[in-house]
Every structure is written in structure tokens, then in C-alpha cells.
């Protein structure tokens, strides 16, 4: 063995020592490794997905035929409210955060997120807020006024119990997590890319998370403001939404949808980032029109802030207002159109390999186009006013959100499973699962277009025989159970493959992004040497990968003197400093715990104790900042 090889082995060993975290409960609570946190996000979010699915199956059983009495309206209203809240806030967004956490640093050649402890905090708060909201079921007081929770129904006159306090406080609590996560993604993506990964070489998944995170920063304050106002009205007699005292119920709707529509893109953009990642891999070529796709992603996030009023076309707003928002709502389909055709052109000019992740992605394109064209229909004001709040809109947004986000999430599960676990999933089971999933999805949600056109309103716990809705509801129910079977097969596949799958090796798909340049699963320090990047497809540049090996032997860019990763400039990704990264810390967990205690006391209206408990929050923050690492 040459001397340089021995030196390289020593360097790797030093990195192992520097980045290793001991096993055990203490490490479980204190880890800041983005990969462990990412996996936790994925597992926790998936658990919430299973809960939301159980809620959906209960509702579909109730609606299988007219006049069914499996559950009553009290239960049903909690079920549909929590189904929406769970899918949007506790499943899709955290699930995509999970993939982001795990893969953004790997894709950009970094050793962790920019703020590893804040990353841990985001997870613990997500977990705390999830438990907080789900604990409401123990008291049969789950939020029951829908995920958009319109006033005055949700004020203390019409919903006097604590259902809505769980909603307001739970979302406020969760928002801390989402916002911290977004800040972390923005800084990580802009400042921690490997040297040479200039912004025009950045993976499209990172573009998508950048657009999403910027949207989060600007959209969530509107939701938090609404939550705070409503909580003040419910608990302290304020009148923000109370007409009799000069308030306005439409204020809630504006605030909610100023958040709510961008949130559609917050859900959907990371998912199409996944699509833009998987399509080139399985088409064996770079994505067509990379620059346009990146720009389309950013502009979707931006225009997404100018369309919220189309959720309120039936509220009696002035026509001029509606026309403006109708035009904006039509305009936002252009960037999506560009992306759909960029993917299509990539498939057409490539040589597609139809493995399971690609099947989910192609399935995504097909169902997303259906959701897209019905989305355009909702920009057509009179048609919107006719079918909004009917099952047609339920069909539409499931095509956009389940089709647009859950399909890509399932593609991502199959695509990145080998990287996360080091093992392949069963392809045969994967393909069978996909087809059941695809058929089940369409059987569930396509008939809802028709029941909506036939006049069936959404959010009804029962309906009357003889309106022509029966057969479509029965089909939807059969579809829901088919879809559940497909999901079950995927879960079985994951569980079987965890220990029994064949070994994957570093790059089983022949992919173009950097996460595949390291071992599966990646070591604690991600890369033994900071990767060399000279194109938008760094893992398809064999010379650069050889360059990495040479650098390891030479000891340049190994950064084995400390717990370190390089920071680079925003546009050109030139190295401008080396960051000392923090190690395990108990404070994120402690802070999340203190916040959970605070919100719980606030929920039960022990305001004095809540105020006292805020001392714990400040104590945790003090402890955290007392151990700030030295910058080198």
C-alpha cells in the first residue's frame, strides 16, 4: 500500500472519530446529525400519514352508502378536520422536510445542515406539536371546524369547547418548527454548497426546497397572526372577527388563504423537486431546460402569493377583485406547464428505465395534469362559484396534493431507500404496489368529480338517497380501500427490505447527484473529502470523482482537524470560510419540552402557570447559547 493510501485511511479514521456519535438513549435525545433527524422526520410523518389514512377510511366507510350511521356528525366533523390538518401539517410538509434534511446536505456535498441544533429543535417541536394536537382525541375534542376553521363557527360562541384551542395553539406551536426548518434550508442551500456548485449547477431538489422555504417564511406569519387573533378572541374577549363589535369574519379568510394558497405550493414544490431529481436518473440524461425549470420553481413560489382570493369567490367580493385573482390564478399554470413539458421532453429524449420510482413519477405526471386542468377551471369565476365547496373541489385538490405530493413522496421512498438503508427494495413488490396504488387513487378520487358536479357538497357526514350520488360514493369507498392496500404493500416492502433486501452499493441507479457519490448508508461525516463539482450533474463526471480520491490522498479539503464543513459564497460557491459544527446537544430537546409544557398550560387556560413555565423556555435558551461553538 502506497504511503498516500495509508495517509488517506488515517484521515478517514480521524473523520470517523470526530463525527461519530455514541449509541444510547442520551445520544437519541441529543443527536444533531441531519441524517438521523431526517429519518426521524420520515418515520414520524409516515405514522401521521397512517393515522390520516385511518381517518379517511372511516369517513369513506361512513359515506359508502346514503344514511349510514357508522359515525355521527360529531365524530365525522372531527375526522375530516383532523384528516386535513394531519395530511397538510403533520404528514406532507414534515415528510418532505425529512427528505430535505437527509438529502440536501448530501446533494450539495456538505457534512450537515447549517444549524444542526436548530434542526434537532425543529424535529422535537414537530413531534411535540403532533402529540399536542392528537391528544385532543383522548378528550373527544379534536378540532372540528375543518382545516381552514372559518369564523364565526370556530369562535367561542359556536364552538365553546377546547377543540379550536387545540387547533390554534397546535398550529402556532408547529409553526415554530416549520419556520426554523425553512431558515435552516435557506442558509444551508445558499451557503453550504460544495466548492464549484455555483447556483446554476444546484440540484433542482434544492431549488425546490429554496422556493418552498422562502414561501414558508412569508406565508406562515399570516396563519400565526390569524391563530393568535382567534385565540385572543376566544380566551380574552377580543373582537377581531366579531361583526357586532366592528370585526369582520372575512378577515380570517383573507389571513388564512394568504397563508393557505402559498401552502399548496409549500406542499407541492418539494415534491416536484423530487420529480426533477428522479426523471433524469431514470431517463439517463440531464433534465431538459434546467434553467427554465429552476426559474419556474421560483416563480411558482412567488406567484403563489397572488392568488389566494380564488378560495373566496363565493363570498361576494367585488367583481374587479375577482377578475384580477382569476387572471393570476390562470397565470400560475404557466410555470407548471413548463415543468411538465420539461419532464416530458426529458423522458422523450432520454432512454427511460421503468423502475418503481420512475413508475410513481410517470403516474404523478398523469394525475397531476388532471389536477392542473381542474385547477384552471377554478380560476374561471362562475364555474368556481358553482362547484366550490362541492366534492368537485375535493377531487381537484386530492389530484393536486395526493397526486402532486404523495405520488412523488412514494417515488422518493423507493428511490432513496437504498441510500438510507444500504439495501434495495423488492422491485416486483414495488411494481405491484404501484399499480394497486395508482388504480386505487384514481378509483377513489375520480368519481368525486362527478358526485361534485351532481351537487354533493363537501364535509357532509351523510347524504340522501336518490340524488344520483350513491354509486360514485360507493366507487370512491372501494377505491379508498384499494389505495390503502397499495400503501400497505409499500410498507410491507419497506419492512421486508430493511433486513432482507440485497445490498445496494453506493450508486444503484446510476444517478447524477452527489448523495450517490458516497457509501449507502453514508458515513457520519457524509463525504471523506469535500466533493469536486464542475457541472449540474456531478455524479456523472467520473474525472471529478477521481479528483476527490486524489484529494483524499493528498489531504486537501478533507477537513479532518475538527468537526468542520466549508461555507461557500451564495452565487459562485467559492469557499470563504470553514465552519466549526456543533456536536450533540441536549438543549433542543429541552427547549421543545419546555415549549410543550407552555402550550399545554395555555391550552387548559392556566395562564399564570403558563407564564411561569416560560421561565423553562428561557432557561433552555440560556443553556443553548452558553455552549455556542467557536468559529474558526
Amino acid at each position: 500500500m502506497a504511503a498516500t493510501d495509508i495517509a488517506a485511511a488515517e484521515r478517514v479514521e480521524r473523520l470517523e472519530r470526530l463525527w461519530a456519535e455514541p449509541h444510547g438513549l442520551w445520544t437519541f435525545l441529543t443527536t444533531v446529525d441531519h441524517k438521523k433527524i431526517g429519518k426521524r422526520y420520515l418515520v414520524t410523518a409516515f405514522a401521521f400519514f397512517v393515522l390520516a389514512g385511518a381517518e379517511a377510511l372511516t369517513m369513506r366507510t361512513q359515506l359508502a352508502q346514503p344514511g349510514e350511521r357508522l359515525v355521527g356528525p360529531k365524530e365525522f366533523n372531527q375526522l375530516f378536520s383532523m384528516h386535513g390538518i394531519t395530511m397538510i401539517f403533520l404528514f406532507v410538509t414534515p415528510m418532505l422536510s425529512g427528505f430535505g434534511n437527509y438529502f440536501v446536505p448530501l446533494m450539495i456535498g456538505a457534512r450537515d445542515m447549517a444549524f444542526p441544533r436548530m434542526n434537532a429543535l425543529s424535529y422535537w417541536i414537530f413531534l411535540g406539536a403532533g402529540f399536542f394536537m392528537y391528544s385532543s382525541f383522548l378528550f373527544q375534542l379534536a378540532p372540528n371546524d375543518g382545516w381552514f376553521n372559518y369564523v364565526p363557527l370556530s369562535d367561542s360562541v359556536f364552538t365553546p369547547e377546547r377543540n379550536i384551542d387545540f387547533y390554534n395553539l397546535g398550529l402556532l406551536f408547529l409553526t415554530i418548527s416549520t419556520t426554523a426548518g425553512a431558515v435552516n434550508f435557506i442558509v444551508t442551500i445558499l451557503r453550504m454548497r460544495a466548492p464549484g456548485m455555483s447556483i446554476n449547477r444546484m440540484p433542482l431538489f434544492c431549488w425546490a426546497l429554496l422556493a418552498t422555504s422562502l414561501s414558508v417564511i412569508f406565508a406562515l406569519p399570516a396563519l400565526s397572526a390569524a391563530n393568535i387573533m382567534l385565540e385572543l378572541q376566544r380566551k380574552f374577549g377580543f373582537h377581531f372577527f366579531d361583526v357586532k363589535k366592528g370585526g369582520d369574519p372575512l378577515l380570517w379568510q383573507h389571513l388564512f388563504w394568504i397563508f393557505g394558497h402559498p401552502d399548496v405550493y409549500i406542499i407541492f414544490l418539494p415534491a416536484i423537486g423530487i420529480v426533477s431529481t428522479i426523471i433524469p436518473t431514470f431517463s439517463r440524461r440531464p433534465v431538459v431546460a434546467y434553467t427554465w425549470v429552476a426559474l419556474a420553481t421560483m416563480s411558482t413560489g412567488f406567484i403563489g402569493f397572488g392568488v389566494w382570493v380564488h378560495h373566496m369567490f363565493a363570498t361576494g367580493l367585488p367583481q374587479v377583485t375577482m377578475i384580477f385573482y382569476s387572471a393570476a390564478s390562470m397565470l400560475i399554470t404557466i410555470p407548471s406547464g413548463v415543468q411538465v413539458f420539461a419532464w416530458t421532453a426529458t423522458v422523450l429524449t432520454g432512454r427511460p428505465v421503468l423502475r418503481t420510482p420512475m413508475l410513481y413519477v410517470l403516474g404523478f405526471i398523469v394525475v397531476f395534469v388532471v389536477g392542473g386542468v381542474t385547477g384552471v377551471m377554478f380560476a374561471a369565476i362562475p364555474f368556481d362559484q358553482q362547484v366550490t365547496d362541492s366534492y368537485f373541489v375535493v377531487a381537484h385538490f386530492h389530484y393536486v396534493l395526493f397526486g402532486g405530493a404523495v405520488f412523488p413522496i412514494f417515488a422518493a421512498i423507493h428511490y432513496w431507500f437504498p441510500k438510507i438503508t444500504g439495501r434495495m427494495m423488492s422491485e416486483r413488490l414495488g411494481v405491484v404496489g404501484f399499480w394497486i396504488f395508482f388504480v386505487g387513487f384514481n378509483l377513489t378520487f375520480f368519481p368525486m368529480h362527478i358526485s361534485g358536479l351532481l351537487g354533493m357538497p363537501r364535509r357532509v357526514w351523510t347524504y340522501e338517497h336518490g340524488l344520483g350520488w350513491d354509486v360514485y360514493n360507493l366507487l370512491s369507498t372501494i377505491g379508498a380501500f384499494t389505495l390503502a392496500l397499495g400503501i400497505l404493500l409499500v410498507v410491507v416492502n419497506v419492512l421486508l427490505s430493511l433486513s432482507g433486501g440485497p445490498l445496494a452499493g453506493p450508486d444503484p441507479w446510476g444517478a447524477n447527484t452527489l448523495e450517490w457519490a458516497t457509501t449507502s448508508p453514508p458515513p457520519d461525516y457524509n463525504f471523506p473529502v469535500v466533493p469536486t463539482v464542475r457541472s449540474a450533474n456531478p455524479n456523472w463526471d467520473p474525472a471529478d470523482r477521481l479528483e476527490d480520491e486524489r484529494r483524499l490522498r493528498e489531504g486537501s479539503y478533507v477537513l479532518d482537524d475538527g468537526h468542520e464543513t466549508p461555507a461557500t459564497t451564495v452565487l459562485d460557491a467559492d469557499v470563504d470560510r470553514v465552519l466549526a459544527m456543533p456536536s450533540e446537544s441536549p438543549w433542543p430537546f429541552a427547549l421543545a419540552l419546555a415549549l410543550t409544557i407552555f402550550f399545554t398550560l395555555f391550552l387548559v387556560a392556566h395562564f399564570v402557570f403558563a407564564a411561569i413555565s416560560s421561565v423553562l423556555i428561557f432557561a433552555a435558551l440560556l443553556g443553548w447559547h452558553a455552549t455556542e461553538p467557536q468559529q474558526s
Binding site: 364565526p152 359556536f158 399554470t333 411538465v340 432512454r351 395534469v369 362562475p382 351537487g455 344520483g468
Partner: protein, 313 residues
Amino acid sequence: MVLAGCGSSQSTLAPHSGPAHDIDTLWWVMLVGSTIVFGVVTTLVLVGALRRRGERPPVQTDTPLARRLVLWGGALVPLVVLVALFAFVLRTLPSTSSAQASKGRLTIRVIGHQWFWEIRYPGAGVVTANELHIPIGVPVRIEARTADVIHSFWVPALNRKIDMIPGKDNEILLETDRAGTYRGQCAEFCGLEHALMAFFVVAQPPDRFRAWLTHEQLAASGGPKQGREVFMSSGCGGCHTIRGTGAIGRYAPDLTHVGSRSTLAAGTIPNTRAELRRWIRDPQHVKPGNKMPALGLTDEQIDALIDYLESLK
């Protein structure tokens, strides 16, 4: 697809008025356009995915053809289509707009309650519930109001929906040339019994409408004495009104002519003796969560009460 015709369908695809017809046309036009878009994209994806390519390596650069596909397919063609659609929407907009309501020659005020519809004919002093009579051929201005939370007034066969929001004076026009009964239902989630909050629009020739309205103006007189006493002594009048009696409650449907209505409990059950008995005996079973309590009446009392209520034609 079942295109249920008239009767009491709630379908958006069975329009019985100008505005509903315009919306229906808009839908079919958009469906055709959407089907074409879907067909093109799906075909391209399938061709791309399934075409046999031999061993030729994939193209690594963006060919001009590929870029043109993205530019034309993704941006320029959609832009043209959207501009055309936008123009079509602007053309359809006037007939369905709220401003049309000012054309109304008859004003009816509909007030959403948890969970029924109060219907008032201000000129005539008539108050009824869950059954909205209108004359055909006459533009009717509906003032959509709420007594509590947000509801949404929606009769798909006659027009688009309009929300009933506290503090907002929303209006909509109803006009049809065809006599018939059209079903409507609350379209904005309004709490426990949002699902069981339907109503019917009964469109009648003007003379029959006038006759109906004149009859509705009459106060209740007499009726079976025993049943009336049950009604008055059981506290029903605390919530319900029967004009001409001591019952002047404002929280529940006006019952002055309840015997002439075809359904009960906001379209939940047909107005028959059997169903009315079931309703009075256990309203919470028929419509869980509604605000009417079970009164614990004896069978004789209930029979008498039914005799009385059914006499209120």
C-alpha cells in the same frame, strides 16, 4: 355519467335558468379543452416511456426540438388557451354576477340558521322555512343573510352559490322559465348538521305563486284544540312561531303553514304523519345535534300534536 333531469335533482349539469346554463356551457367547453391537454401530455409520456430505442445512447444535450417542445407546449400554447378561456369567463361573468340581483322585481330574504333556512317575503309579511316559492318568468332578488355562522345558498340548477356571511349584504338572482322543484343545500360547512340542511325552490306560474303567497299571509286559526294545547303547554312556542297564536319564538322554523310543506327538518324527512311522529319523539335520532329537544310527550299527546301541525296548511 348520470345526467339526472328535472325533478328535485341538485345537479349542476341540469341547468334550468340562464346563469346555470351559462356555467354549464363553460364547464363543457373547459372539459373538452382539458381532455385535449390531458390526451396530449399522457400520449407524450407514454410514447417517451414505452418507445423502443435500441441501444442508441440517450441524447445528453438539450436539442432545439426538446427546448421548443418545452417553450411551446409548456408556455406559449397554454398562454393562448388561457387568454381565450379568460375572455370566455369575462363573457359569462355578467349573467352570474351578484349585481344581476338588482334586476329583481321580487325580493325574498333567505336567512341561514344552524340548521335550517328562514325565508321571508318582506312585502307580504310572510315567513316560512326550507321551501322557497318563486314565480316563473320573474327575476327574483335573493338577499342572502345569516343568523349565526357562515352558510352558503346554493341551488345548482338555477345559479351559482353565494355565501351568507355575518355583516355582509350578499345577493343573488334567481330566475327560471320552467315550473318545477329544485333542490338546494348549504354549501359552506356550518357545524354539526351541515349535511342535513337542504331546501327546495318551488317555481310556479305567477298566478299560482300569488295564490300561494296570499294563503301564506293568513294567520293560523283554530285547528284541533287538544293538539294546540299540547303545542302551547310544551314550550314549543319558545322557539317556533305560529302566527295568530301565542307562539312567537324566533329560533326555529316558522310553523304557521307547516302542514303545507313537503319536507321537515330542512329537507331531512318527508312531511308525513309517520315521519313527523318519529321526529317529535326523538329529533336527535333523526337529525343528530339539531337544536330541537325530545319533549318526552305521551303517544296521545304526540298524536294530538300531529293532528294540529298537519292542520296548519
